[in-house]
Symmetry: C2
């Protein structure tokens, strides 16, 4: 992977930063955040402005360009990747390390007095604007909105914004109709005494209307906004997608129905002016509810006194707690996904020794097996298929320049998942197709102990996920090892593979408490730069737990793995496991054998079934 | 304990809330926070306004009185105590429970439109003012400063503000001279480009000048403020304490010395006008550094553009990392403290069966033994001497009305500590002088497992204490048990027994990372309302750890117990311990026997030595 040469682009950007055509006054710095106007994590090609200007295309990162400097902030998952993809014009700012300055502190340290710092007000979330603006102002600088996106002005071959057809989901998938979701939302609005709710996150629009799209790769969402009033529904969406009879039927666009469920369809681009009109028409005490992560542009459309901002919207919270239709769908999706992976690993076991399987071939094969399963839609993220040193690049994606051949001498890490119409999967397995070293087994076993510590954890109702993060690290910490990423994230139901408001990470504190029905990943790891990467990831469902004393009826929770793919026992040093951990592995494998075995049998996949049976042999007793 | 009857007081308070003599406009609600003008946790009798108005005298709680209601917010440690101490005029708001409204939400729900909410601007911290003011304003109300404290106007027999003599500490105790502390502070100020630093917390003033006082019971501090400039030092302090030759010598008040170390002594009450003068004389870019927990009154003295507010001051952070003189002092203090407790427990073992020892007698006896030790100054907090159901009142203090007699049938919990000139102690032991039930042993053993899990934890440099909190709960959680308080707090060095900026609690996120030299408590517990309380607390020092792989040279930390008092093995169900936990207990007891045994021997306390030897017999092997 050679870095993108950005000298010329940076020169152009620095020119437009001073050009009266685009800016009222020259800006001495320009911020290029990661997201799109919906603060999405995964974005459409037309929104990959940060990747365009820097070359770094990981899912998280913020670029800041000044007249003298160009700097990129990203987190531990991407330190290696960013260093590889960016040329010498760029300074990598490793977030999470003690000596790395914040963007604000860095700007203050490099800017001349009284500078202007520009940013696209549609791309920067309101909470971030506020924090940054305050810090800059207190140092004598100004954060200013630059209406025209400056990257777009120099991006001559910028692709079009996608506008793909929609998928409608019926009750058997969603469990709740979009009308009932609107009713529930309005009741939350009434509780908080707000009259309007603005839906800005793409997955929230999709969830609310029981629609899916494919405007953004891997995330079944579509570009849209909505404004929900107590009696009105406005949906902002482009293209002829609303001409699709199935969509019209689903949204009951051509029915005479209760006026409070009548959907007014408006162009995507008219959200700002419509919202400004809403804002202008408010009487005192009438409030508009927005996420505090909504864009600065939309937030500013509502006068400050009328805004009601919360870190998590009622849709975000409702969406996270899966109902029984969604849970059952997720179970089905994970069974199918496990079938595909059993096929894959069986195939790899035979093919890898021949020396013909590359990371890309393995990833493609995984997709091929998944696509054979019912209701497969697409992958849920770019497959991380990595062997040897590539495994240490936490969010690695094989490309021809980096593509290694799998061998019997190296650890292979596969982090992959799919979108099925009934659910979203995300699973990581770390395999060795030869004989792992004692050190590799040792590290794998610590990671496994961490995985089990979270998966088997019992905790009181109301516990926030971040309080479980250290459980995943304890065994690693004891030996002086750690990993620089969170332990788990929320997972959508045929929606984004990363979703809030819950998760398991030392980095968040504002996560909502875990409750039964929430679905998160459990994915500790260990990475040795230049050598190998290890990660063991299951998607797990929060379920009520039985305990001896039940927290005086406060109730207990634990996790049930939805992912049912064998964990390679060859990689386990059984002597490092407690009897309880050993039993956990054996019980888990027993369940894999029963549930996935039955499905392999049903699908007539006999060779994969034999592989499953072999891989789920119980571990010997701990000495 | 019968509740305080507050009907008449509340009537009087509601009158002054409307009286033009004290308020410009009537206030519909009046907030009575817990702290004093220094946001101290422990306060002088003249500052116990919240206890005066409500009867509830726990260390944490905020009262709000409206025309119709009187409500008290406090945390899990005090639910029972507050319920006992307050009459029916008061509603208890249990913080930390899901359905408890915040003060702001509650105010908004009960106040008539456009209300004024009053508070003493010297008592409310600036950050709290800001949050509350914003929430109230957005609901159409106003938070207003009421200059004269309204409680003081109805508190006819309010005691005088204390003004006791000072103690000077020489280098053998402090390790660093006050001049060197000023130099270090100024270098931090230069780093942040601030010209002034305002010392508002009492323990920070005491630490900075290597002085101690006794204005507040249990906390060796004195009422004072300081303003440190780059070349000036102003100390605001009342009384004739500055006439003491030892103090004058210590502060070099009568020397001709470098002008930047010349201390200008001013009256305590002149801080506001002096600070306003500083604020008025600032040029652009000149900043004044204050804690964001400094009072609203002092914060407002500096125009907003000139304020530099941080959650932790450089003094707070420097003070938390003990130097070797302080650490050695803390070790000595803990050895003496353990001697006193060995004497006490030996005495209790003989006396309790006679049925003549009450909670108060036991507490007094503990103080008596402590006071026999060298450099004893006073207790470090009110001794929690509680037996049976009283043990479940987490911050219980025995008073004649509640005073139970210790017996061979109930668990006894003693949480106590002292101030010695060389260090501060805080230790909890839970004992049974008869035969504990299987259930009591089970609960005790889970608490012990939690205590060990924290104490023996190994974690990378830079880890924040709150990430260790769940380790203390895991064994309890597994059985559906929990406790409603944090696991540990910072401990001062002959200073406040509770200090920031580090700790081990699920409640904080803004704690500073743990580093070698910090000292915290490790005190999980379990409380069964109406039956018993269990807590096991050691004070522990953060030390570098040896690990196999040492986090790629990031370095590891762990804890070393400074407290060396036997943990009653009679209460342990050995079958619930792992071999590692069993070894921890045996190693700990071995160290108690060696270190404390030698000191008991030296002090000629032979009977207590025999008790120590019996109590530190190794546990039998785990089956």
């Amino acid at each position: 992977m050679s870095p993108k040469i950005t000298t010329e682009l940076l020169k152009q950007l620095r020119q437009v930063m001073k050009s009266p055509k685009y800016v009222q006054e020259p800006v001495q710095a320009y911020i290029v955040p990661s997201g799109d106007a919906h603060q999405s994590e995964y974005i459409a090609p037309c929104d990959c402005r940060r990747a365009f200007i820097s070359g770094f295309d990981g899912s998280a990162g913020t670029a800041i360009v000044t007249e003298q400097h160009a700097a990129m902030w990203t987190d531990g998952r991407y330190f290696l990747q960013a260093a590889h993809q960016m040329d010498n014009n760029w300074t990598l700012m490793k977030m999470g390390l003690k000596d790395t300055p914040t963007q604000e502190d860095w700007l203050v340290s490099v800017l001349p007095e009284g500078s202007k710092v520009g940013v696209d007000p549609f791309i920067i979330p309101a909470d971030q604007w506020k924090r940054m603006s305050k810090a800059l102002r207190s140092a004598g600088h100004d954060l200013v909105p630059v209406k025209e996106n400056l990257i777009d002005t120099i991006w001559t071959d910028c692709p079009q914004r996608p506008c793909k057809p929609l998928i409608t989901l019926d009750l058997s998938y969603t469990g709740v109709s979009w009308k009932d979701k609107i009713v529930a939302l309005r009741s939350k609005m009434a509780e908080r005494k707000v009259l309007w709710f603005v839906v800005t996150a793409l997955d929230e629009v999709a969830w609310l209307f029981n629609l899916r799209g494919s405007d953004v790769e891997y995330n079944p969402v579509f570009f849209a906004y909505a404004i929900i009033g107590m009696n009105t529904i406005r949906l902002f969406i482009d293209g002829d997608r609303m001409m699709d009879p199935a969509v019209r039927e689903h949204l009951q666009l051509d029915f005479t129905l209760e006026p409070e469920f009548k959907i007014q369809v408006l162009p995507y681009g008219s959200i700002l002016s419509e919202l400004q009109a809403v804002g202008a028409g408010l009487s005192p005490k009438e409030k508009v509810w927005l996420s505090d992560k909504a864009s600065y542009a939309l937030t500013e459309a509502i006068p400050k006194a009328y805004r009601y901002l919360t870190p998590y919207t009622p849709i975000c919270i409702a969406k996270a707690v899966k109902n029984s239709s969604e849970t059952e769908g997720m179970r089905r999706a994970h069974i199918k996904d496990a079938v595909a992976l059993c096929e894959l690993f069986n195939w790899l076991e035979k093919e890898v020794p021949k020396g013909t399987v590359t990371e890309i071939i393995a990833a493609d094969k995984a997709e091929e097996f998944r696509s054979q399963q019912k209701d497969f839609v697409e992958l849920s993220f770019a497959t991380i298929s990595s062997t040897g040193p590539n495994g240490a690049i936490i969010h690695y994606k094989p490309v021809p320049e980096t593509n290694r051949t799998l061998s019997v001498n190296e650890i292979y890490l596969l982090d992959s998942g799919a979108q099925y119409k009934d659910g979203t999967t995300d699973v990581t397995r770390t395999m060795h197709f030869g004989t792992p070293s004692a050190y590799e087994k040792e590290c794998f076993t610590y990671v496994l102990k961490g995985h089990i510590a979270v998966s088997a954890a019992i905790f009181p109702n109301g516990t926030k996920g971040h309080l479980l993060d250290s459980f995943a690290r304890s065994a690693l910490w004891d030996c002086g090892l750690d990993y620089l990423h969170g332990t788990g994230h929320g997972v959508g139901s045929f929606l984004n593979v990363h979703e809030g408001p819950c998760g398991i990470s030392y980095k968040t504190f504002a996560d909502e408490p875990l409750e039964a029905g929430m679905i998160v990943s459990d994915e500790p790891g260990y990475y040795e730069d230049g050598s190998f990467g290890i990660r063991i990831e299951n998607v797990v469902l929060v379920i009520p737990a039985e305990t001896k004393y039940n927290f005086k009826n406060r109730g207990s929770l634990t996790f049930e793995p939805l992912t049912l793919v064998p964990i390679q026992t060859k990689m386990i040093d059984v002597n490092l496991l407690t009897q309880k951990e050993c039993n956990w592995v054996n019980d888990y494998h027993q369940k894999c054998r029963e549930v996935i075995g039955a499905e392999l049998e049903r699908q007539g996949r006999h060779e994969a079934l034999q592989w499953l049976i072999r891989e789920t042999e119980p571990l010997g007793r701990v000495q």
